[in-house]
Symmetry: D2
Subunit: 357 residues, 4 copies
């Protein structure tokens, strides 16, 4: 139940941070779609550690192997399995603190749920598993691209620095992955400053989905925003989510918040592209609050597995701000969700898959 | 797919605003649990229209009939079906505007997805269906109560008026269902003022869940916060959701955001009771942004089903602010989610159901 | 989990034999399909009790009410709920034996699983619930008809009398619903003879599905034959199932069992229309062994709920042979399965729904 | 959808006959269970090719690697992934016939469903994937063993030779895996004789499940027999299935077919251990008709992918009778189904997992 995501376009993942490797099976991909190893590796490279001073120094090249489901670089309709071996797992730092629950981590809760835990690097609860989401997401992105759907995420806030512009071509040009080049340096300074203190910082990531046909989402309980919400909160660091004008809507009147229309279509996009749980043809716009990385090199009070008061300092190698690496993960989870909603919608509208919308 | 919610504790609903009636099947309820019609009617009465000046004047007494699944006031393990007949459906107001897409409503998107639509009162997309959630939620609340789990929601903001206190005993004492009696009147004024203008207002609802054992939630994709997020965004008026300190976490450092522990347990609850996707034993705290009711008695620009520019004024009978009636709906969806997570967790921890935690 | 069947074309049922009523929600039906109350009632009338001397004398006219999901006699894409009230429930006969487990019934197993049981008429485990399957199946049959798919079942054996012909037009012309008019009378004699002894008899029902496009079924675990097998064994009286030449295949060589082809297609249909788990375009042919009705008016040894040896004679009103009434139930379950497989296949082949195969 | 089996104890498989390898993710395994590589390899060795003259000469040692989900030889509650590399894949024989649909195989149906096919060794539709079922089944068997549940399958018929005894200790002592040593040689002769003619033979496999507590199975649509039926027919070679006295029940009266009880329990087991869709505490007994291997070295008439009449002779390396190797596959699928039913039942009865039944 827990290791699968999606209904028809469906992933199942496995693997721990310091085990043999991590991987994913992507099921439900229509046959005949072109997909190459490079398509997938490209997205993984955007997520992998060690890209810049701002990310963990763990050296994983995250080389992916496709084990099944493609033949002569085309999908066959069979499940696509991908494997990424762990290379640079250094468990020594974790052995010293294996009896202590790291604050902000899943140690305490996993310990109580499963009694037994692979403590090395967080085991199953490690952010390392997001590589599987990105690998699978690359296939979903490819599928959506063929339907004219595109997804872009970017960092829009780090600590107190907020982006004022959305220039998509700039996102990959700065290490914090913001779409506003004017604040990129200030954002980077916040990260470096936290790093210098052995601390970390949080931020906001925004995601935009373009080109969705009208009608994706399945009322009443698989509304498109509900499906996306589940996807976003399945990412460990997401603490808040809004669509469109989000929490601002709480302060507005109906006359200020409704999106009026005329013959040309919607005159505003306050709803963020989802109306009545279905895509309305406008860009889907989501903002996610991303908490600061829990692992910090400062002393924190905690509890031991025996229930005693203790103190620990997490050494290891950690990202001082996870936003830049969260960007491809957010895109991947959005892509998997939209691909699933797309296939679900095909059972109502036969023209979707054939492209004659 | 779309009309069911939950994995093991599972509801399936049906019905349109102006059809014969609405109803729900609740499946997976353990046998031997006491449940009476009064338990369910009590919750429905909190949601039903016409409770105060602040709610729609549609007169539905929302009398529920239990069709199956109980025997001598105990659950038998069989599916529990409940039916609420529609009584005061007045479709005349809708016939006049059936060719126009009401701004902020699902008219446009349903029209494009299904080609055919029961336009009367919003049909399937009407908020009326939330009565089914509340009826089913009453059973979930009863189940959770037997496990020592309790849920309370309240309005914490209407337009610009914010609550400063959380006094649970006060919630049912004021028509806006706020837990802060000091601002109840100001909140009510905002609603009346909007109503006078033929307009509506939005707000924020907070929900607290007490008594969850440690370990509810199924990593990695049915994390408890992910399951709750899907539940909350399946409610039509929810536009934003946070857990614990939510969007504030974006501005904090790791050292400020992590919840430290000592031998007594957690020293703070910034994470809002969910850590690593699992309940951590602290109260679960969520805030939802609720948009202003889309139906307003003011002229709005819109599109007709033929694609032409038009204008409409929604007459009907509508809630000027949905927050007070959203409170029991939020509680119901939270209860259904936690009950489902509870049963899922039983497959790992046998002591949960027997109560020997 | 337990009260739903199907993935995309999905039913959820409720109700007990002697409760307020029984019903079903059919979810996933594409919008715009014509469906009338008469379409559904017609199928229910084929299943209802009291049709002939050969069926139980319980008088249920099984009048169905459509509660939702249609508008002006067309489906809207919303869930279709149907309700059948119980009228002629006489529980007095059951009160006398409520402490005894009826042999061949679910009494013993339900008693141990749920501790608590609605004993009246078998409660949830009663064959009465099959009316819900037939009502839902009528919608599936209508959907399949629009795709050129037709389903016919008939009794091919009662006790030792076997049918030698398959004349579909004859099925509704005799009370045992056999397709071989030459043995209809002999079959009826077997039933009457058992009835005279206060006993019952078993038989075989065959089902044929015509017009399936090639490729229905989802490898590897939702093979079409696996899906159909789950459907057939979900009917309480089915004890055995074969496809095509079935158990005969155990005695054959590969050269005798394979279906060869030439340019015109398959030269035989030993596989019964399913090859590699997918429909191959030939008629799908299944045979089901149907056990004799468990309720008999003869003394049988049994156990009481307290675990003591006892004896009982089931009075009530029961079918001496359930085959004739199993025929529409088998057709309904086959239709629901094929409709579900059809929608699943649409996510791979867009031409299915639009009819351009 | 298609590559997963099970609800709570759930497998997802991948891989083609001649690709990089095959594998499986097993999700939902409770934590703290001891499991070693040897436990799994032992079962795989019973299924692997090349065990005797009677099986295909393809040389795969089927060495399995556990990639995740265990720590210090115990399960952690995380998904368990296993990988088996393909070693001795020889695709040359398949290249010659890649434009021809092999009779009795999925070639024709996959070709029409997916347009594109990995033709090498049957690709995804190859029986090779059953190794994944066996690897996963080994974990399920281990889980069930800890609950006192045991599963045994054996060949009870090959062509016209039927077993008369059921001596479980004998099963692994003869190459056809029959429980009747008196007919083992005659069965082997039938296989060798077919092999000599370049042909193959079918048979019957019986499976017995001991020690199930009363109440496994979820009415009405996940009845235990329905779940097992889906599992059995998901095995490519199964053509028929019966429980208990199966097709014989068609000829019996109710008084002959019901299992009477007294204070000691059931006095017979004609129902085969499943009553009203729930396990009744008696051994569960199933018989499966297994068709002759479709690949034979004799000329057969067929169709080419272009639709023309042709002829082919399947060279490759194939099992002349699949029954002996089907035995561990049947056990594995039965084990996966019972383990899933067991976890589902825990949500009703908390004592199951803790063992205090």
């Amino acid at each position: 139940m827990s290791s699968s995501f999606g209904n028809l376009f469906r992933i199942t993942t496995f693997g721990e941070s310091h085990g043999a490797g991590i991987g994913v099976i992507v099921d439900g991909v229509p046959s005949g779609m072109e997909i190459s190893l490079a398509d997938i590796q490209k997205e993984l490279d955007r997520r992998r550690p060690g890209q810049s001073l701002m990310t963990t120094k763990r050296k994983e090249d995250d080389q992916v192997e496709i084990l099944s489901g493609t033949f002569e670089d085309k999908t066959t309709g069979a499940p696509i399995a991908m494997l990424i071996r762990n290379r640079d797992a250094d468990s020594s730092k974790y052995d010293k603190i294996k009896h202590l629950h790291r604050p902000g981590h899943a140690d305490f809760t996993y310990h109580h749920k499963y009694a037994l835990r692979d403590h090395r690097g967080g085991g199953r609860s490690s952010g390392r598993e997001t590589a599987c989401r990105v690998a699978a997401g690359a296939i979903a992105l490819k599928f959506l691209e063929s339907k004219g759907i595109f997804i872009k995420a970017a960092t829009t806030q780090i600590q107190d620095v907020e982006a004022k512009q959305w220039l998509e071509d700039e996102i990959e040009n700065n290490p914090v992955r913001t779409a506003d080049p004017d604040v990129a340096e200030a954002m980077a300074e916040r990260v470096k400053s936290a790093m210098a203190e052995g601390d970390s910082v949080g931020g906001v990531v925004e995601c935009r989905i373009y080109g969705c046909p009208v009608g994706l989402g399945e009322p009443l309980y698989d509304k498109l925003d509900a499906m996306l919400a589940k996807a976003m909160f399945s990412i460990g660091t997401v603490r808040g989510l809004t669509f469109g004008n989000g929490f601002e809507s709480a302060s507005l009147k109906g006359s200020e918040n409704n999106d009026a229309m005329d013959e040309s279509g919607f005159l505003s996009n306050r709803c963020g592209g989802v109306l009545g749980g279905l895509s309305n043809g406008m860009p889907i716009v989501m903002q996610m609050a991303i908490k600061a990385t829990a692992s910090i090199a400062r002393y924190q009070k905690t509890q031991s597995v025996e229930g005693e008061t203790s103190e620990l300092r997490v050494e290891g190698r950690h990202d001082p701000c996870i936003c830049p690496r969260a960007v491809p993960v957010v895109e991947a989870m959005a892509a998997l969700t939209i691909a699933d909603a797309y296939l679900l919608a095909c059972t109502q509208d036969p023209h979707l898959l054939s492209g004659n919308t």
